[in-house]
């Protein structure tokens, strides 16, 4: 019961970060701020949701898979954020030159 409550609040808390990231994506002025909102907030949101789900997992295998999913999504989102930001900066510079 206690575990259920903790798991549920972690998932809800994670969702709050996802919503915050989405609001940032819609409201922030330029691409760098938007990327910042997406990669940071969604990364934390995903980590919280994943943590909440591991508490509800039925076997060690499930926990391991959730951790793997979290690890690779976090890795991919950080790398994508970096690549998009690097591309945008390059395009900015060439636009000004």
């Amino acid at each position: 019961m206690m575990l259920d409550l903790i798991a549920a609040s972690l998932v809800v808390f994670g969702t709050v970060f996802f919503i915050a990231g989405t609001v940032g994506l819609l409201r922030f002025p330029d691409i760098y701020c938007r990327l910042h909102a997406l990669t940071k907030a969604d990364g934390l949101g995903l980590a919280l949701v994943a943590l909440g789900m591991t508490l509800k997992a039925e076997s060690f295998g499930e926990v391991f898979r959730i951790v793997l999913i979290w690890f690779f999504v976090a890795l991919a989102s950080a790398t994508c954020g970096h690549l998009i930001a690097a591309y945008a900066r390059q395009a900015d510079r060439e636009g000004k030159a």
Partner: protein, 326 residues
Amino acid sequence: MTDPFLILDLLLAGAVIALAVATLTVRDLFAAIVLFIVLGLLSALAWVRLSAPDVALAEAAIGTGVTGALLLKTLHHLRYVAGTLGEQTAHGVTPVTPVPMSVIWANAAFCGLITLGLAIAFLDAPLGGPGFDALVADAIPASGVDHGVTAVLLNFRSYDTLMEVVVLLAAVIAVWQIERGLSEAPSPDLSVIWQGFARLTLPAIVVVGTYLLWKGSEAPGGAFQGGAVLAAVGILLLLSRLYVPRPAHRALARWGFVLGTGVFAGVALLVTGGGRVTFEYPPEHAKTLILLIEGLVTVSIAVTLAALFHGREPVAVRAKEARHDA
């Protein structure tokens, strides 16, 4: 008490339709492709809700991942002009000549006909009938595998699957006929961060692809899903120029393209005789034969999809000929 998943299902169905409309109506081609990818991911989720994890995996891996990469590559092909980023973006986002209205209406008519056909088929189907589940479940012991979908795809209806593999083969043959040339684009400036990412992920993708293939005999997964995931490795290698196709590699690539189709058709024909018809695997060898076919078809699918992404036969032609958009 209504099903708590009802809200999710309704939202999902609404989002899929809204995304489909947005994909078709948005003006910018890049935005259309991104919307299409999101549409594919949500469709995969919808397939999961419909208890069809095999279709969901295929939709996510092929329909969204590989198709999205192919569409983005095509867009790049349309816009690409040798030179800097500025020159590329200077070219318009819409095609130079607009598509004639007659073509649009003809396409719309064909889509309408297909929708009509599906609607008729759906309305004619017996509602809430037992389907083929019981028949498949009865026949599974004779199929050599434990997973219904794999049993249907590679044993009971393997002719259809063979034709799907042939479609991919035909596609890559057509692409190699149309477009030739060596890669003349400069190597992209990918940072150390990307290299670290590739070092960590590429081996993991290989493991996941092989796992999907192996798991296919007893759980959702199989040749097409595994092949598409393995093709992603090829696409990442091509994108980062870690692998550059050379004319000397063509022989190996051709073997890779035909391997799956050849072995599939070969096995189907060789089991004929002794009272068996084509495609009727002897039950005692069925598992081995299916694994052999699936394994080699996976290799072919991976090589073919990666080659489709590369989009041209790597032959040295004069620079002028290679530049189709000059």
